[in-house]
């Protein structure tokens, strides 16, 4: 059994009467791209929120590299090496792109305000290394040359990439991506797939991915879990999932190409 980066044991999160995440068990191996899919409202984002410390699950355990993390605050969890992006982008809009990355490095840096005022040696060293690392990350996510733009002035697709860059900046062990290609066109989606692969292959980061773009998910994932009404209804390799009836019924439907054909033919009929 490969080493697990995240293990959830019977995690449940309840809002009022609604069990958004219901006793979910996941074993996520190190170095995998692991996708979580499921209908809208299935509890995917909520699960992310539990892992990254925004919510404390009512039941169950979340282990990160074998260590219990639920109940810790988000900053501590970030410090342990879990980074994330958000379904609705949350950049620091009035900071420049490169500053966003520098903020992302926060947990990796050690100098404090006194160092900053006196410019101690370690401050100078850290400052120059962190800056050059930040530039590398910009390059890595394809934003080279845009580092001095305010984040809010970047177009949507670049903001998504910048958010990933910020998440990468502290050298995470685990990256949680919540619908990273939402609102992107197919061309940009392809770029994003390339980027995600690169993260795993070049940096060795484990990735958990939420996506509704099936082509992408099937393409990229090592392993997929499917949530519905908060419970895990299936898990396995992309092939297995694609052919799972329950998943098709609850989630997949006929698929993009078939759908397009449906509308086209209807339209032709109408015109005829």
């Amino acid at each position: 059994m490969p080493e697990l980066v995240i293990e959830t044991k019977g995690v449940s999160k309840i809002f009022g009467g609604l069990t958004a995440v219901n006793s979910v068990d996941l074993q996520i191996p190190k170095g995998h791209i692991y996708s979580i899919i499921g209908p809208n409202g299935a509890g995917k984002t909520t699960l992310f929120n539990c892992i990254s410390g925004f919510y404390t699950p009512e039941h169950g355990e979340i282990l990160f590299l074998g260590r219990k993390i639920q109940g810790s605050s988000t900053d501590l969890i970030a410090g342990m090496g879990i980074s994330r992006t958000y379904q609705n982008i949350r950049l620091f809009g009035n900071l420049t792109a490169i500053e966003n990355i520098l903020v992302g490095q926060h947990t990796k840096l050690v100098t404090n305000w006194l160092d900053a005022i006196i410019h101690t040696r370690r401050y100078r060293v850290e400052n120059s290394t962190s800056l050059s690392e930040a530039k590398d990350i910009l390059k890595f996510v394809g934003l080279e040359g845009l580092g001095d733009y305010l984040a809010l002035n970047l177009p949507y697709g670049m903001q998504r990439r910048l958010e990933i860059g910020r998440a990468l900046a502290n050298g995470p062990t685990l990256l949680l991506l919540d619908e990273p290609t939402a609102g992107m066109n197919p061309q940009e989606t392809v770029d994003m797939v390339r980027l995600i692969r690169k993260l795993r292959d070049e940096l060795g980061i484990s990735i958990i991915l939420i996506e509704h773009d099936m082509k992408l998910v099937m393409d990229i994932s090592d392993h997929i879990s499917v949530l519905d009404y908060g419970t895990k209804i299936a898990e396995g390799m992309p092939k297995e999932i694609q052919s799972n009836d329950r998943v098709i019924e609850a989630y997949l439907g006929p698929g993009g190409a078939a759908l397009a054909a449906k509308y086209q033919s209807r339209k032709r009929n109408n015109h005829a």
Partner: protein, 369 residues
């Protein structure tokens, strides 16, 4: 690879905030109980008549604060800005009411029985009504133009910008009143039936406790106004559109809501309430000059926050609590009256420490990310 880092000691104070909060809370609560025990059980410093008097005073002050606080809360609820000039809006309304009463006082008419009296004594109800109409409409007008001139162009600006504009407006209005009406202190000329200091007499412990007409009038009227306001906001489309505009102006416009009109109406309503508070305050206390808006303005703002800013019942509750604290606090805790604002502010801080969004403010539980 779990990072362990050396952080500055200050940054390690994680969680100690909560501990200190509770220590503070326990200390404050303990002190409070001890004081109350001393005042009521051991010393029993004041008789029931005194407590009644304090209670009456607190309720009257509180209802005026509540009316002004609603204005802050309404504007805040829609624009997320502190209308710092709101106290001045009240002051100007008070002046309008004052001039009407002066005029009706000066006007000679043949009263009932053919005796020549002043208009305000012959038709006191009408005179007071006119004063309120004048005060309310003038304040509404001021509020309306204030928004149009000083705030509307800044609607897209960061939140602190309109705050400074409001501070400027507060200066400008205050000094305009100073220059127009002189710094002289004026006295409200009430019609005789509402003479200040007169009231129903209750005998408690052999001493007369006066329930002043003006005070009762103030309380009753402000309750009526508040109920009316709640109905207005709950029952009419205006209330709905105010909520929508508060959350997202563009989307509200896409629903067919006239955003400008909604905001103007908000200022008009808060002006009306402030104007009525100004006239009531004048009738009850008599005192009027260019600076009367400032202190109640600050207090009412405090009350609005205490109740949970943006929340109308919260503003009312906050106003009442603050009024009662000011009146009863020093006596109940046996602390000098000079420190009544200290008591009020300390209690407010303690409340906010435990209820960070005010008494009735929304509980910001787990935020959706």
């Amino acid at each position: 690879m779990i990072a362990t880092k050396k952080e500055n000691f200050l940054l390690k104070l994680r969680g100690s905030g909560t501990i200190i909060r509770y220590i503070l809370g326990i200390l404050a609560g303990g002190y409070l109980l001890w004081r109350l025990y001393r005042v009521f059980i051991v010393q029993s410093a004041f008789g029931l008549e005194t407590w009644t008097r304090l209670l009456i005073a607190g309720l009257v002050i509180g209802s005026v604060y509540a009316l002004i606080a609603i204005g802050y809360t309404l504007v805040y609820g829609v624009l997320f800005m502190i209308n710092f000039a709101h106290g001045e809006v009240m002051m100007l309304g008070s002046f309008a009411g004052f001039f009407v009463l002066e005029a009706t006082r000066a006007m000679e008419v043949n009263g009932p029985g053919g005796v020549a009296t002043s208009f305000s004594n012959a038709y006191p109800g009408l005179a007071i009504l006119l004063a309120f109409v004048a005060g309310m409409s003038f304040s509404a007008l001021v509020g309306f133009y204030l928004e149009k001139i000083a705030y509307r162009p800044l609607r897209k600006a960061p939140r602190l910008i309109p705050l400074i504009s409001a501070i400027g407006a507060s200066f400008a209005l205050q000094n305009a009143a100073l220059l127009l009406f002189s710094p002289q202190t004026r006295t409200y000329q009430n019609p005789d039936i509402l003479t200040r200091g007169q009231g129903w007499r209750l005998m408690i412990n052999d001493s007369a406790v006066i329930l002043p007409y003006t005070g009762v009038f103030t309380m009753v009227l402000s309750i009526i106004l508040m109920v009316g306001l709640i109905l207005l906001v709950k029952r009419t489309r205006l209330g709905k559109s105010m909520r929508a505009v508060a959350m997202d102006k563009d989307t509200a416009a896409l629903m067919g809501i006239d955003v400008n009109k909604t905001i103007s109406n908000t200022f008009i309503i808060s002006g009306i309430l402030a104007g009525s508070a100004g006239v009531m305050w004048g009738l009850h206390n008599g005192l009027l000059h260019y600076f009367v808006g400032f202190l109640p303005g600050i207090k009412a703002f405090t009350a609005a926050v205490l109740g949970g800013i943006g929340n109308i019942p919260g503003a009312m509750l906050g106003g009442m609590v603050l009024g009662l604290l000011e009146a009863l606090g020093p006596a109940a805790l046996d602390i000098s009256f000079q420190l009544k604002d200290v008591i009020a502010f300390v209690i407010m801080i303690v409340i906010l420490i435990f209820k960070p969004s005010g008494l009735l403010g929304e509980v910001l539980s787990e935020e959706k990310v």
